[in-house]
Symmetry: C2
Subunit: 455 residues, 2 copies
């Protein structure tokens, strides 16, 4: 009983905290909070003691947006331009930006919906498979705990390599990259990402494990953690894990097939083992992490194009990654296959995918596509770089990936503004979708159904 009361109190306090935001719709509130983090980050990064070489306000702003949206595109080299304090600010922004959406978004929706009436919160609970708002608060705390444990373990493993080499700075390098990896944020202190680490699997494999875990999403992570209790995996988690495996394998095959003989990338590595590890790493990182062991500017154009597709797909729902999300892409693909197999409705693992989900997936795909197309067009109108590099840049920004074929540094202020807008849209769009998915629907005032011919 005592425990129950304490929980209730905690819940009431949290409700009060959220009350100030209650007049905003949840997506607007989330945007406001991200903008606040970005502003604070910009101010801190503009302080002289944050900079080891001069960084102007515009570049500090870009860095703050890139870190808070966990993208990792950079206009100045992080390690060279910022002091330890500046780097710590970036690490905090990555943590806030990466975990913020996860631990904050769902409770926020729940709180605001509860203020608004019971019907909606129960819809949310169905989505989450959890009993009540208090439960959601518990989940948030659990997610933070899991994230911190995983990052600590990751940093410790990385420290085994870096501390013997660099002493105390090796500790910081391990912590920074563990945070960057789990949050799929793509920032690095080396200046050329991990291009000098192709022969060091003791660094690249822990990094890959961290960003793959971060990219699965907390729903999947918590279920995996509960496996021992015999609960089994939900359809969502099974679809997410299966799709991730397929994407990892397909991406690895693609990188190997297109770059094996390219002396500037895989072809330049020492042996086949190193090539395979690099292909796997690149397959994993391209969907959203943004680390690179290979030079994307030197890759063949077909690799760049296929990478664009991977970047657009992105990572998991409720993860630290971006893109239209793996399960969205999987649902669209399953629906297409089902349509051409004469199925009335698509299904996955013996469960139907409802029309509501298809409606939302279509909206997510179309909205994302239009944002990217508009971004690419705007970049081409205003920037001098080539189509290939600008398209890569736009998709990388919207997918909060952070890979670049080299266009970022050549952007003028207008180009930087477009890329910042794409990064921001890419990071907050999942909450917009979640909100519109859960919000109450009203039927349009219609005479009947329209006979419209398609295809």
């Amino acid at each position: 009983m005592a425990t129950g009361d304490t929980d209730k109190e905690a819940s009431d306090v949290s409700k009060e905290e959220a009350a100030g935001l209650a007049n905003m719709s949840p997506p607007v509130a989330l945007c406001a909070l991200y903008l606040t983090a970005i502003t604070i980050g910009t101010l801190l990064l503009s302080m002289p003691f944050a900079q080891s070489q001069p960084v102007d306000l515009g570049d500090a702003f870009f860095t703050s947006v890139s870190a808070t949206t966990v993208t990792g595109l950079t206009v100045v080299a992080t390690g060279e331009s910022y002091t330890l304090f500046g780097e710590a600010v970036i690490a905090v922004l990555m943590q806030v930006g990466g975990l913020g959406l996860i631990v904050f978004a769902y409770p926020l929706i729940a709180f605001l919906n509860e203020n608004d009436g019971g019907a909606k919160v129960s819809l949310l609970q169905t989505e989450l498979g959890r009993p009540n708002v208090r439960g959601i608060g518990k989940i948030a705390r659990k997610v933070i705990l899991v994230a911190l444990i995983v990052q600590t373990v990751g940093a410790a493993i990385l420290a085994l390599h870096w501390v013997p080499q660099e002493g105390w700075y090796g500790v910081w390098r391990s912590v920074f990259h563990s945070i960057a990896a789990f949050n799929n944020a793509g920032f690095d202190l080396q200046g050329n990402s991990f291009q000098d680490y192709t022969d060091l699997p003791q660094v690249t494999l822990p990094l890959a494990a961290l960003f793959i875990m971060g990219g699965l999403g907390w729903l999947v992570l918590l279920e995996l953690g509960n496996l021992r209790s015999g609960k089994g995996l939900s359809v969502h988690s099974r679809l997410m894990l299966a799709s991730t495996l397929v994407l990892l394998a397909a991406g690895m095959l693609m990188f190997a097939a297109t770059e094996w003989s390219n002396p500037a990338t895989l072809g330049g590595l020492a042996d086949d083992g190193e090539r395979l590890v690099a292909a796997l790493f690149q397959s994993a990182t391209t969907r959203t992490a943004g680390f690179a062991t290979l030079d994307f500017g030197a890759m063949r154009q077909e690799t760049g194009f296929a990478s664009t597709v991977l970047m657009f797909i992105g990572a998991g729902v409720g993860s630290t990654g971006g893109g239209v999300k793996v399960t969205t892409a999987a649902i669209v693909l399953l629906a297409t296959i089902a349509f051409f197999r004469h199925h009335r409705e698509p299904s996955v693992f013996g469960h139907t995918i409802t029309r509501e989900k298809l409606f939302a997936a279509l909206a997510a795909l179309c909205a994302s596509g239009m944002i990217v197309v508009t971004g690419v067009f705007a970049l081409m109108l205003t920037q001098d770089a080539g189509f290939e590099a600008l398209m890569f840049e736009a998709v990388s920004a919207f997918g909060t990936v952070g890979l670049s074929q080299g266009a970022t540094g050549a952007l003028d202020r207008v180009g930087q503004a477009i890329v910042m807008a794409l990064m921001f849209a890419g990071r907050v769009s999942p909450l917009f979708l979640a909100y519109f998915l859960m919000a109450p629907k009203h039927a349009p005032d219609c005479e009947g159904s329209a006979h419209i011919h398609i295809g």
Copy 2:
């Protein structure tokens, strides 16, 4: 009564004719028929008396595929390489390919479905809003009649310009381009399309009228013809006409905005009026007709990119054009807007768009996208040309548009095969979709609905 009997007989004869195809599914039967037309075309174009300069078998094959799929991509200049006989073969192939799908596909589905049972044909009749198979046969005859009348009038108007200049050959030039225009087939006898005709609206405007009409689709054309009878327009026709106007205006604005100051295109024209007409013509032609009054190889890269979007959208259902179709794109856009407006279902002009339509639209979009992405990737893997030109080429082929930034001539045999496959897929895909839309659906064997998170 006598009339009724005659119709019944005609219907029985047609049924017998179709019986041989009855063991094939309709899409396979249509593919077989297109392949037959392509084969006959290739043989005829390979005859010495069809050629005024040597054309090898591979190039004749490519020409036949391009004409039958009403695309208009060419590896040899039509006017220079083929005799009047060869040009006539191309004209017949364009006519068969353009009208074939329209007048043949729907009756074929109806006949085959009727052999199969009554339930499906009534579904088809709902789609067409017509009472029975006999009615569909009548529609087919009406469509052919309308097409021939429009093409004759078009040729007569074009002859007013060309006959005074060229005498008898002017008659042929008028007939050929009227056929090419109405069928959105993109072939021309000049060798550089209509780049020398920017100051001749008496040629370009009738051409634009022809290919816009051909691109609306027979459903819309027949309804427009019936307007006097006071029947009004269906939701499909209203959506198609409204969307076409929006696309024409948006495309014109886009071409004007991006190319106005480009001396190699609009900037090189004599005055603003000529520029506006050229921008309008290019807006209309890019979605599927494939004629060009401007050099697409000399356009800015942002124009090429925006053109790719227009080519992918394409023309109307049941039209001589390709692409994912205007109404498909419109439904997807309306659905996306409705989703973000909290509507339970999207609607258009006060009529709901059913979930079945959304399912089909999603499948159409996803399948088309995957075909194009695969095509672009295959071209990049095997051809030397740049990303921009190859992407343009692939979308142009799949959208059966026929515009090129110059890559067609540089394709090797493998590249030609990829482009031919894209053209073929682009032309027959609408029937596949129509068939799968109409075919009976079976429910998947499921336990319940899946809770999958998207976005």
